[in-house]
Symmetry: C2
Subunit: 555 residues, 2 copies
């Protein structure tokens, strides 16, 4: 790669939903955009979080000038504490985003040593050879940015997450005039988010949700319990407004709801009338029809407030017959089953439940632009090159088709994976090389102390459990001193499988004696032999494949 | 419970989707309806199948007169081999259903000792005091039945799974005249399926799918690869018809597709033109535009044909740029992620993919009646009592509201759980008692050798792995002979955690020595102490909770 090449890559967010992290490199500058996490699915047993592998950035530590964050969703800020512990660079973001980042840094006790720099849509940052400016976009959280990097080779635009909402709940529209100007000035490369690239049409406006919330509140007879994403402050505002109109006090339940609402009120993003907020132990001082509970757990998270309410395990707060429970958020793919469990439980408590794709129509709109939104962005920017970001392959693929439909040349669109680098040299873009990229696992306190082997072991243990076989052997004569000791966990009930265990022990004794007759009686060979013969025997008898762990004690 | 009481209960299918099994008991007769399995979700680690707990039936073995099966879906026949091995009673079903049951019994080598009795919608079976007759219903598999039990106390109707399709693909309509007669004669109790009780309207007709399949075939340029449920023979017929119209040969891929199509052709349920079926190794003898591949895997099953095609792992068959892949089945809730992976892979192979709720509109219709279908059945039957079956609580709940809406008294509807018994005595129904019911796990060959404790162990092992600690202790002096031996699997990388393991070993040595000073130095107490102190230490250091398994070797 020669001088004056612009290199663009992602370390997360490509061919996946989550852990967004993109970067622009130009000579001695690297700008990192976003620093998100991803929540593990059932294939990542026991893992708490997945974050981007930043090996490349650590190898080029001195070049990294800034972490710029487009907005405060977890898939854009969730990895910040882990990132900043390894790479302490200044963080640029808007006020609300910084408020949420601060919560995380506080929790990880690194707030004081981090340099946080507030920007707004009008900010202009000058770095060596490159200037960075912003434009306002609408999304499902306040204070979102798109970013423009002006380089000597041309301008690069990163959209952040966005939709075009011409009547947003809070009156803060996307700045489409500025977008038009940016496009007119010329865009060499556009990186645009692809979440809803498969959905035709234009995203509905958030205002629609407000109308349906008020309708649901008006019909409700007892308490209203309503759940949504804590970070969707526009929606929270509409819920506050509905509570006000129907003369209800407001109780907040769930740690993230309390935290985020606190940040939003502090910085003036949320307007709650004086005296409306009450504590949960005051609920019984008011008639049910004068109470709204706003809580976390709309995605069915088993430990969140709504799940605990649905099973009667939230101390001091009860869901009673006649109460109305509203899901003001659709289930994210993968969460349907957990949401379903909660709905079943709420119905069995006698509550009226407003949920699901049929009945909640109007109680949720997406924060990500549909096809027409994406085409509008592409049309404003009219880029020479296009890289769809933030989505699975099928979304990136559809987004490229949209780009072609508005006139981007097919050969100028790049579907890339995490770690693929697009180099632009003398305004010619090519994707030829790769840098390291992948998943870093956070499990408990440890970062990266769990890897593929540990996960493979967990997977094996989870399927058929294990058998530990302890052999006490004489060091000098290399023979068994007593009968083998076999212990199983997660395999079968020991009590009901005594015969099997006895057969296994006999088999082991025979195996070890067979070994002693041959010449290769090293401990390793004995263990290997036991794993093989016991594994085969157990599979034939039970069709199960527990992990077999022979342990030899030398005496 | 006195004589002449009709008792009705479910052993599976209530408050869940899957493992359907219902029963009617009257004096010395028990009739079992359906015998399904359920596929385990990620909470049932390593389990292959979940089947009903039939303890109650085994305790009343002599009363069980028949297993009557409404239709051949897995959630209605999947447990038959396991059931019949324990309770060998005659099985009554239609020809197609028996064909599918036979496949299972053959595999389990119990076909010869089972009495299979073919019935049709006009059959009438006479048992002691009770006669059993049937009525034809439409569903997404051929040859489906509803059942009428005529008892001296009144008639009980079980709908099976159904929808009303007035233009079915195969011209075999629900027999609504007979339903009307049954209702007119009087129904004491109706049990009706609830899968789509939440969806307003009437289910679309299967014919609509046919039209869209032909459209997709006509547009396709290369090979057509199409996937649907093997058992949906009506849809398979429409795919065959589309292949015929577009002059394509047909290749079947996937074991269940081959098996079910074979049964369907044998018994005259499927009409494939002579010479249309070719083997997979003949594909290359034809131009791509003359080939259709019909395969399993529409739900994203990782081992099914479509998944293997999407990753290039199906020997001898390739998906090439220009091929069209059609998902002629919507994803069942919970399968979205697996389907999504396959779609991503197929796009990256360059195929055109027709999938998902937006684009596949028209390429799938449900086999389960929506609200208007359910109301039509309720209206035909005009039952005195109503028990919604086959669904989660929220569906059962909605179905009761539908029953009320057509005039069933609210107090005459019963939402019951598996094991709850509704007793009807002198035409008065009450739900007061329970019998045993629950999940029986099939894991490998074993039935019920895995239970809650084994599953709990697997869960724990899957989350943070384990530490095995071997202590070699002197039998006489009860003291450590050598340093403890600690082995971890699925916890952390041993190599990178040497210090931690060393600290643990030191801690164990101290713990054991502390024990020896006290008087309670039984092996059990020592193990208990180690589990506690090591568990606490590790949690403080890592925030992980591996299973800790101390093993004491006495020498």
């Amino acid at each position: 790669m020669s001088a004056n090449t612009i290199s663009v890559f992602g370390l997360g967010g490509l061919n996946e939903i989550g852990k967004n992290m993109y970067a622009i490199e130009y000579n001695d500058n690297i700008f990192v955009i976003d620093c998100g996490n991803k929540f593990p699915d059932e294939n990542f047993l026991g893992i708490d979080l997945i974050i981007p592998d930043i090996t490349y950035l650590l190898e080029n530590k001195d070049k990294v000038k800034a972490l710029i964050i487009t907005h405060g969703h977890e898939d854009h800020i969730g990895a910040t504490p882990y990132f900043l512990k390894k790479l302490n660079v200044p963080v640029y973001a808007t006020r609300f985003t910084l408020g949420l980042v601060e919560l995380k840094l506080k929790e990880h006790k690194i707030l004081r040593e981090t340099e946080l720099i507030e920007v707004n849509p009008d900010s202009n940052l000058e770095f060596d050879q490159i200037s960075v400016s912003f434009f306002k976009v609408s999304h499902s959280i306040p204070d979102c940015l798109g970013i423009v990097f002006k380089t000597p080779e041309g301008n690069i635009v990163h959209t952040g997450d966005f939709k075009f909402d011409l009547t947003p709940a809070n009156d803060r529209k996307s700045d489409i005039h500025k977008m038009a100007e940016i496009g007119k000035e010329g865009v060499l490369l556009l990186l645009s988010e692809s979440t809803n690239a498969e959905r035709p049409g234009l995203t509905p406006s958030e205002q629609m949700v407000g109308e349906h919330v008020i309708e649901a509140f008006t019909k409700a007879k007892g308490k209203v319990i309503i759940s949504t994403f804590a970070s969707n402050i526009h929606r929270v505002q509409q819920i506050v407004d509905a509570a006000k109109r129907t003369n209800r006090k407001l109780v907040l339940l769930g740690r993230s709801m309390l935290n985020v609402v606190d940040v939003a009120m502090q910085h003036g993003y949320l307007d709650v009338p004086d005296g409306m907020l009450i504590e949960q132990d005051q609920i019984n001082e008011f008639a049910p029809e004068n109470v709204t509970i706003l809580c976390t757990g709309s995605q069915g998270e088993p430990l969140a407030a709504l799940s605990r309410l649905s099973t009667g395990n939230f101390r001091g707060v009860e869901v009673l017959p006649g109460d109305t429970v509203i899901f003001a958020a659709g289930p994210i793919p993968g969460n349907e089953k957990n949401v379903s469990k909660i709905v079943n439980n709420l119905f069995s408590l006698g509550a009226k439940v407003v949920y699901g794709s049929e009945s909640s129509k109007g109680l949720h709109v997406s924060g990500h632009g549909y096809q027409e939104d994406l085409k509008l962005m592409l049309t404003f920017m009219q880029p020479k090159y296009f890289i769809p970001i933030h989505g699975e392959y099928r979304m990136l693929h559809q987004h490229c088709l949209l780009a072609e439909s508005i006139g981007v040349a097919k050969e100028n669109t790049f579907i890339i994976d995490n770690g693929d680098v697009v180099d632009i040299e003398s305004t010619i873009a090519r994707q030829t090389r790769k840098i390291p990229a992948g998943n870093t696992y956070v499990d408990g306190i440890g970062i990266d102390d769990v890897g593929e082997i540990v996960l493979r072991d967990r997977k094996k243990l989870s399927e058929d459990g294990m058998l530990v076989i302890v052999l006490t052997m004489s060091k000098t004569e290399k023979k068994l001193i007593s009968a083998p000791d076999t212990i199983s966990r997660g395999f079968v009930y020991m009590r009901e499988s005594e015969q099997l265990i006895e057969d296994v022990n006999n088999l082991i004794t025979r195996t070890v004696m067979g070994q002693q007759k041959s010449n290769e009686n090293s401990w390793g060979a004995i263990k290997q032999d036991i794993r093989k013969s016991v594994g085969k025997y157990i599979f034939n008898q039970t069709k199960k494949k527990p992990m077999i762990l022979p342990i030899i004690i030398e005496v």
